[in-house]
Symmetry: C2
Subunit: 243 residues, 2 copies
Amino acid sequence: MTVALKLAYKGTAYCGWQVQKNAKSVQETLQDAMEAVFGFRCPVTGCSRTDAGVHAKGFVCKAEGVPDGIPVSRIPEALGTKLPHDIAVTEAWEVSEDFHPRYGAKGKRYCYYIRNARVRDPFTHETSALWQKPIDATACDAICAQLVGTHDFRSFMASGSDIVDTVRTVREFSCRREGETVIFSVSADGFLYNMVRILVGTVLDIHDGTLRQSAREVLDAKDRTHAGRTMPANGLCLEEVFY
Amino acid sequence: MTVALKLAYKGTAYCGWQVQKNAKSVQETLQDAMEAVFGFRCPVTGCSRTDAGVHAKGFVCKAEGVPDGIPVSRIPEALGTKLPHDIAVTEAWEVSEDFHPRYGAKGKRYCYYIRNARVRDPFTHETSALWQKPIDATACDAICAQLVGTHDFRSFMASGSDIVDTVRTVREFSCRREGETVIFSVSADGFLYNMVRILVGTVLDIHDGTLRQSAREVLDAKDRTHAGRTMPANGLCLEEVFY
């Protein structure tokens, strides 16, 4: 049978989702666990490539050829016995063969986590970026709001990408504070390469005064050199995929 | 000058606070950072030994011979540049030479974190213990309440310990749920070896029906064999030290 799996993983130790030579990927690690549990190395398709060090709470993938004898509801725990501690299968459900976790997705939501304090926190260091200067989350939220909508997001795409159609619809882009943590949330129908990390870096650079342009001016320039820094991978997390 | 430091650390990679041969301790790692920053290997005294894998948010230690030229308020950030990511100095203040972080403490508070779910969570795996059967936190809280007060806690001390006076005053012992996390909080004037881990294991075993005795009966037995399991180290965290 064909099964969809929802995964949560801490990406610190991985080169990303996608199988790569000479590096440990989440995909390969999941396939190893499946082979150990099912006795068969299932082909697996993911909802996106995530970069090295990026995390996921709701990554969706499809596994083909899962033996029919296994109750779907027991798959998360069964795979849990063979997966390392930084990857968990949180849900499993049967899907039709033509389900495609990537092309079938209507959109995705990412969060970017920032620890806003002078000193690092040992407990969240791997899953948030440190930003030492005070952040006014309300002011950042107003900057984020300027970027919501259907726009050409070329300015927010890593240079070197060969994507031609750079128009995307950002449905939500917000910023809020929870104690010493500042959380950016972005949902869109699709994302360009490094888009969330550049969006957040640009908002912070405008807020800081490092970048003396408005978010709309950066957007209208359609040029990566007008945008702000690319934030590090460790603060980024794929939260949800919408179907 | 003599300086008190408050530390937060994720204990996963350490043999505990105390210097040991052939194992990396928090104490030694802190002394290495001090030597790099101060140019002098300061003698350091901790508020307690923590076991291998146990965490701390408010561990207090004393460092002697810190050079006078350094503003105390800048010590946390200065040491942060040389400490690994799993240890942070969160506060520093000058103390008199006779300050003793261990003997001067009026009490300590620990929390024990449990993830109560069928499947592990990659993001909290190192800092909480997994308990798959449903926990009724309100029922556990009522069991905890039976152990508050001044009692002989011999039943809750790891066997092999040579402590003679096993009377301690537990000021607070409570249990609450926050989503899929169940948190036990214990504050006392002092703790016997493995006491928190055995207290929590006993409450859970009574709640589960694995142990068919009341908490008071276990207490009154003054015998380790009457108590429940010793919970694993990874869920335990030293939260605060009171002076």
